[in-house]
Amino acid sequence: MSKVLAIALNTFKEAVRNKVLYFLLIFALLIMGFSGVISDLSIAAPEKLIKDLGLAAIDFFGFLIAVFVGVYLVYTELDKKTIYTIVSKPIDRYQFILGKFFGLLITIYVNMLIMSVFFFAVLYFRDATDFDKVMKAIYREVSPGHYEPIGNPQIQYYLYHFKQLALAIGKGVATIFGYWEPMTHHLMRVIWMSGLGLAIITSFAILYSTFSTPTLSAVFTFLTWIIGNLCEDILRYAEKLAQKAGGVANLAGPDLMKYWFAQIAMHIVPNLALFDKRTEAVYGPWDVSTPNIHSVPIDWVSVVYGLVYVAGILCLASMIFNRRNFK
């Protein structure tokens, strides 16, 4: 498997050269910064806005990276004929597919982690620069009701903000490794879950690029993502159809077709809704005594589903790749 790792690292080096990556990353960071600013407009739970927007941005931009960077990976190898010297080496074609997949996945995860650090930093910084806290840091209460500034208030103000910024970034990095505060409890778990959903989309991007052009692959991947997200809604729609008719047995004609089509299709399509734990992150179970700590239980069934699904798609991609003639 060291060969797979070699290919993966090479793929990562190649992906990192793609300028699109940087645009997407910067854009995502801008959105998170923006959310930190406009959160003050939201009169209730301003932190909810940052969390919602931040988590959604990490998920969405991860998806965009998977599509825009991923569909080119296999295609450029074939188009530029660099594949010739690879295939003639003693590696299996499936190892090549795996290497490409993991290379792309590493690229996406690195970006996700960068975005996560920034996201946490925004949360921590905003919390620390709450007006009351700033005033408490700058002013000292000499006697009840009487306040005296510590040093030059202007300088102290900027110094405080600067210090909190550095601290926020440091805490942001630490949060990736497990550190948490009440407001960021289990958020990393949500991001990892989202990452697993992205792994599924990535595997599809690789799959499509084994047999079609980048544009088509992008379109297919995009469609897969949309249907994956709508999977549960479509199933619900099918159930409602059945319910309106008074039971599955009573369905007839086009409705029956719609019902069975929905049922079968939605079993095959990846159910990306399982990897969306964002609601739990913001509203998840909390104890009355600790109102700000939302907990997100690890949904092991979905994790297994995700891993198994990815493995299946990679098998399919390898099968297709095995039979391909490279012109």
């Binding site: 407009l41 939201s42 009169i43 909810k48 509203y283």
Partner: protein
């Protein structure tokens, strides 16, 4: 080389021309936009749009909800609400809560905007109902519903319903049951109200918090007072419809059916109950000496009567555990005028009785209240007489000289007023010593 410079220059000129035109047009457009701030996309949001948006937003529904929320706040701040266009804003909040069903602020703020500002309380309550059963651990939403129902719509039964739900929520703070008990009493559910306030008081005893005890005691008195008054007012109505006239003394209504064989809680029994148990629990007292003003105190025998055999009261027991037995001990079945919880007795308020502007709760008051009223009247009239004396330089001849009209204020106790023109002395015949 020269050619391309010329070409670039021409292109630049064209660029400035085209782009400048565009910018100017946009500038004109912005002027128009400033004057008419666009309201929320009313064409977009209908009653069903919540479900549709949720599907369309592809699992980013919380983000869409947040954006709609920001728009809602902005529009509320910018335009306020009128009764005419409540529907778009209702749909707006309905959509937001459809996208993000756990967004508590959306429900409460939406209710405030639609109900308070817009005057459509029913629709506001509909929004709260939606939220109440999604956020099943939070007390805030049913509590708001209770507030709206009682204080804005005056529907105490509905308020009771909300209140009881609010009380059972996981995160309800400890003052919620007290307010709900108040509503219960207001709605006429006296048993429940009394029981709740009793519970409050006992909790205050367990917690050694004299503040809670003081409040609870006041509330208990209030509850019993209201309870008594409702019965007596019913009897008053029965008397007037039976005889066709108003009674002059409260004893006259004591024979009416409503005051026969009724069950009510008695303050003195309550005091006896808790004090006796305090002794059984090796405590010096139950009701703190500072709190004993204006309470109907039981007699010596009542205070010293032994507890029933089934009582749980002994040292180390929590007061809360004794609630049931205390509650039942306070209830008595009796006939006639009930005992006033503040130690005084009930009398008819003749200054109010028979007058169309009289409020129900003012028709029958305790003697203490009436005495206060009499004292106030005497004080005010005496002051007026003194002023007139100074003005005239002599004692006024009659009260008509003082007030320029006949003094027609009814004497609270049914007596009359006596004015001595020689001395300027003014007093009542029922209480000449005042």
């Amino acid at each position: 080389m020269r050619r391309s410079i010329l070409q670039n220059f021409i292109l630049f000129v064209f660029f400035v021309a085209f782009f400048g035109t565009a910018v100017t047009i946009q500038h004109k457009n912005l002027e128009k936009v400033k004057l008419n701030p666009p309201f929320i996309e009313t064409w977009m949001l209908s009653g069903r749009s919540g479900e549709l948006l949720r599907v369309l937003s592809l699992r980013y529904d919380l983000v869409v909800a947040d954006f709609l929320w920001l728009r809602a706040i902005q529009s509320f701040g910018g335009r306020g609400m009128t009764n005419r266009d409540w529907k778009p804003i209702y749909n707006m909040f309905d959509t937001i809560t459809e996208l993000d069903p756990y967004f508590e602020a959306a429900y409460t703020f939406g209710n405030m905007v639609i109900g308070d500002e817009g005057g459509r309380q029913r629709e506001g309550l509909a929004l709260l109902d939606k939220g109440m059963f999604k956020l099943i651990r939070q007390y805030r939403i049913p509590f708001e519903g209770m507030y709206v129902a009682h204080w804005q719509m005056g529907d105490t039964q509905l308020a009771r319903w909300y209140g009881r739900i609010a009380m059972k929520r996981q995160d309800a703070p400890n003052w919620v049951p007290r307010i709900v008990a108040y509503i219960e009493v207001k709605a006429g559910a006296y048993y429940i109200g009394f029981d709740r306030f009793l519970s409050n008081f006992l909790q205050g005893l367990d917690a050694n918090d004299i503040h809670i005890q003081a409040i609870a005691l006041e509330k208990i008195k209030e509850a019993i007072d209201k309870w008594n008054k409702e019965l007596m007012l019913r009897a008053l109505d029965e008397y007037t419809s039976r005889t066709g006239r108003l009674p002059r003394r409260i004893e006259e209504i004591a024979q009416e059916p409503s005051l026969q064989n009724y069950e009510v809680a008695r303050m003195s029994k309550f005091v006896a109950a808790v004090e006796r148990r305090a002794r059984a629990m090796n405590r010096e007292y139950a009701i703190h000496p500072d709190l004993r003003k204006n309470i109907a105190w039981p007699s010596r025998e009542e205070l010293e009567a032994p507890l029933t055999s089934g009582s749980l009261a002994k040292a180390g027991v929590k007061w809360e555990d004794l609630r049931n037995e205390i509650f039942h001990e306070c209830l008595v079945k009796q006939s006639g005028i009930p005992e006033a919880p503040n130690g005084s007795r009930y009398v008819l308020n003749l200054t109010m009785l028979g007058y169309p502007w009289a409020k129900k709760e003012d028709k029958i008051v305790t003697e203490a209240d009436l005495l206060d009223l009499l004292k106030n009247i005497l004080r005010d009239v005496r002051a007026a007489i003194e002023d007139r004396r100074k003005m005239l330089g002599r004692t006024p001849q009659s009260l008509r000289e003082v007030f320029y009209t006949d003094f027609n204020t009814t004497e609270p106790f049914g007596g009359t007023w006596k004015y001595d023109p020689q001395t300027g002395d003014f007093r009542s015949t029922s209480h000449p010593d005042l």
